[in-house]
């Protein structure tokens, strides 16, 4: 039978009967081409330029792998690889370890103050990474509070400081992943373990730990990548301790050695890409772990364990609050900690010429949010709903940005858009290139969110519409967008918050007139205007929190107004 069928397959031609092109189909293909063009011009092409540049010398001659040979054989530069990997691994172990217990306490016990603990732990997300580094310098630096009071200099500049500051910066990311993993527990497994008389330690080792192992691995990869690709923290507290991200900066800005910058970038891309691919594979398994018939676990926990966990969470939360208190306090007193007279003079930002940078940041973040949401959703829709041979490639390219460190992307943009004769030269030095770099830098997560949201919808909406002669864009607007609105609002918030705090991608791309707040923090700190740097940080955090608040309000409004259909009451809804 099978043989006969295989023979028949050869007898049937491979081509399918063509359908006429109607406007709808033309629009669809045209949009898909636009989306492909976007990914090509702003992602594939710049990255290709950078690869190419790493094979040239500074006068533009092809030198093969000579730059790589030089990189690995020059101890002063090559050490940055070992340094980067070392601090990334140590910070990863510490962060995930600390966040593991914290997340466990928040999800698996009913201790008081869980909401507040969660909120406090989220704070670092609203600030550029270097803010925690500045706070550590304030406390433990050569002239720090702690150093002055005790006379002990812990030697914050170097690996120690980087690890400490990164742990704070990455903590919320690890915590959110682990909380999701802990929350997805199946109570039936615990009931079974209890029925079999398993002691608590055994239950933890055989049920709890295996249940969150993929979340644990995912948290490890995310933190590892964050630390590896972060630029702000090592720039502030790294001192002479060179890591790859700062090495790129030094080569490009310090020595104007663009080819070596490109070489280090390509090398940095390897571990980042690797961690990202493994994380994708791990995440795919996580979904399969919890069956749809799972019963959610009701958190319990006895008095003593709960007390200990509470004390632990309180300690961590206090540390985080202390950091942000230092940041805030130092910005509103004359000279922390010697002259505590309240003042707002640091908020004048004299050395920057006022508020341009902050306004630029808000404007860029808002544009990134709007344009990014439109492109990711439309792109995900086109890739998901029109089947063409190119879709697999497009999907792959949409996943790529998450593996590209910001420094690398920024440098690639210099090569692509600051080249004489390039058509796109015009965007260089404008706010547009900052928006575009943010779009690409943070493209993957919103794209995947949009794809997941679209996959959850009935696959036949478009078929039904087509049968009634309704164009796909009409259905997209009237059905797909309203259903996806909560996810759309979430995605735009993700773009906004990240665009507010990002440093690595834009540090190469800002120009006179297009300064950004996060870059201003770095420059002010560099210039010794630390109080103004923390002042700017406070404003960035404030705007982030405000945006977050707006998001919650919006989401509630959106849910009430457009998601009325999700409430399965028998009350008739309002007529449209």
């Amino acid at each position: 039978m099978a043989i006969r069928r295989a023979g028949d397959a050869a007898a049937i031609p491979d081509r399918v009967v063509r359908q006429q092109l109607d406007t709808e189909r033309v629009v669809r293909y045209a949009l898909l081409v636009l989306f492909a063009l976007f990914l090509w011009v702003f992602l594939a092409w710049p990255m290709a330029q950078m690869f190419w540049r790493s094979l040239l010398d500074n006068s533009g001659r092809f030198v093969g792998l000579a730059n790589y040979v030089r990189y690995f054989s020059t101890p002063a530069i090559g050490v940055s690889i070992v340094n980067s990997l070392t601090v990334s691994l140590i910070a990863m172990v510490l962060t995930v370890g600390l966040a593991f217990v914290y997340a466990y306490a928040l999800t698996r016990t009913r201790m008081p103050g869980r909401g507040a603990f969660r909120l406090v732990a989220m704070l670092p997300i609203f600030a550029p990474s270097l803010v925690s580094a500045i706070a550590f310098v304030y406390a433990f630096g050569n002239n720090g509070l702690f150093t002055r009071q005790t006379g002990i200099n812990v030697g914050i500049y170097g690996a120690k400081g980087i690890v400490l500051a990164e742990v704070f910066y990455c903590f919320p990311h690890a915590m959110l992943i682990l909380m999701a993993a802990f929350a997805a527990a199946d109570a039936r497994l615990y009931d079974a373990a209890a029925a079999l008389g398993a002691p608590r330690r055994t239950v933890f080792l055989t049920v709890t730990l295996p249940g969150v192992k993929y979340g644990l691995m995912s948290a490890c990869f995310v933190v590892f990548t964050l630390v590896l690709t972060d630029f702000g923290v090592p720039k502030v507290v790294g001192g002479k301790f060179s890591v790859m991200a700062t090495e790129i900066y030094n080569q490009v800005i310090g020595q104007q050695n663009f080819t070596m910058g490109a070489t280090v970038s390509v090398v940095l891309l390897v571990p980042a890409l690797l961690a990202c691919v493994v994380d994708r594979l791990v995440q795919r398994r996580q979904y399969a772990l919890v069956s749809s018939s799972a019963r959610p676990l009701t958190p319990g926990g006895t008095g003593l364990a709960r007390g200990l966990l509470f004390a632990y969470c309180a300690l961590i939360a206090a540390c985080i609050l202390a950091i942000y208190f230092v940041i805030f306090a130092s910005s509103v007193v004359t000279r922390w900690p010697y002259n505590l007279t309240p003042t707002l003079k640091h908020y004048r930002f004299d050395s920057l010429g006022g508020y341009t940078a902050l306004l630029n940041s808000v404007w860029v973040a808002a544009l990134t949010a709007v344009v990014g949401t439109v492109i990711t959703f439309a792109g995900a829709y086109l890739v998901e709903k029109c089947r063409t041979a190119a879709n697999g490639v497009l999907y792959l390219f949409a996943l790529l940005p998450v593996a590209v460190p910001g420094m690398v992307l920024g440098l690639a943009y210099i090569f692509a858009f600051n080249a004489p004769g390039s058509v796109l030269n015009r965007v260089y030095g404008t706010l547009a290139i900052l928006v575009i770099s943010n779009l690409i830098h943070y493209f993957t997560v919103p794209f995947l969110t949009a794809t997941t949201t679209l996959k959850q919808m009935d696959a036949e909406f478009e078929s039904v519409s087509a049968s009634m002669g309704v164009a796909f864009y009409r259905t997209f607007w009237r059905v797909t967008v309203p259903i996806a609105l909560p996810s759309i609002v979430g995605v735009s918030m993700y773009f906004f918050l990240n665009a507010m705090v990002t440093l690595s991608a834009v540090v190469f791309l800002v120009a006179p007139g297009t300064e950004l707040a996060a870059v201003a923090v770095l420059l002010l700190d560099d210039a010794g205007e630390t109080a103004q740097a923390t002042g700017m940080s406070v404003l960035i955090i404030g705007i982030g929190l405000l945006a977050r608040l707006t998001y919650w309000a919006l989401l509630r409004g959106v849910t009430r107004r457009t998601q009325a259909w999700t409430t399965a009451t028998r009350e008739p809804g309002r007529g449209a």
């Binding site: 039978m1 069928r5 295989a6 028949d8 397959a9 049937i12 031609p13 491979d14 081509r15 399918v16 009967v17 063509r18 359908q19 006429q20 109607d22 709808e24 189909r25 009935d458 036949e460 909406f461 078929s463 039904v464 519409s465 087509a466 049968s467 009634m468 002669g469 309704v470 164009a471 009409r474 009237r478 059905v479 309203p482 259903i483 457009t562 998601q563 009325a564 259909w565 999700t566 409430t567 399965a568 009451t569 028998r570 009350e571 008739p572 809804g573 309002r574 007529g575 449209a576």
Partner: protein
Amino acid sequence: MGQAIPEVTAQTAGGRPPAVALEGVAKKFGAMVALRDISFTVAEGEFVCFLGPSGCGKTTLLRIVAGLERQNVGVVRMRGRDVSALPPSRRNYGIVFQSYALFPNLTVARNVAYGLEARRAARAQIEARVDELLELVDLRSHKLHYPAQLSGGQQQRVALARALAPSPSLLLLDEPLSALDARVRLALRQEMKALQRRLGITTVMVTHDQEEALTMADRIVVMNHGVVEQIGTPAEIYREPASLFVARFVGHMNLLEAVADDRSGWARAGSLTLRYRAPVTARPGSSLTLGIRPEAVRVGPVVHADAENRLTARVTSVQFQGASTRLGLAVVGAPVVTLECDLAATALAELDVKEGAEAPVSLPPEALRVLGAPDA
């Protein structure tokens, strides 16, 4: 319920081309052949079911008719017009999916109006049409509900109303009842059939449920492994299955492996010699599969001494099924031959059988058929 829908008039006029005609349609996915050389026609106003097990290609065929899937070869005609190259939006059909695909953010009324609004009809006209259709499916009072607030059966009816609203000339149903529970399914079966009769709209339905196909369809297209096994009315399909597959898939069938006898029209199964229904002729010695429906097997006093194909069987099981009772029978003297037989409640009372009892049995020759072509 409402008045007739003016746009769709029941007409099965002779001389007009068939509502749907498939000519040599084939489809493959990579090396997997989904459909192989499918040709048949659906007459105007007819209700046709594609019946077959999952993976037989019936849904793919429906999607090809709808233009949602494109065939590798073959022509799809609607009312004589070749629509193979037309996109779905220009084929003029309504479709109901197994999932209904109702727009969850729109009310029932807006769902039904969806296809009309795109046509820029006048607002009052749209509202009138929506009311008319909701009346038709008996959901007028649910006009302002959202789909999530309706039961499965109600959602299914909304989907039907939405498909019918733009007055299509063809209605396509893709397993429309499979997602419902048994009781609702039975009620909706009748309702849909009555509605189809009243509107006279040509309908093609895909189902894997043979009972659904037998009760609803005017004609059934039985499919297996991408080919059409048989096309016929429900009665034809049930009584005259054209192949072993159809016999097994539609209803229940006792199968007997036999060898053709020297006498034409006779076969031997173990120690039994049976006469089967003419006019099949088989070369003596060739092997045959004989089939007989459980309800055609006669048991007990009704079997006269001079009945043909008479034998004695032991009752091996008694399975109460409500209106009828199924007996498991082992033929005495030929234990390899087992039969199942359905007895009506009244016949059972007369017979008074118990497990282990022996009873006379006959297999009426007119009900004993040769299934599948005997190997020549």
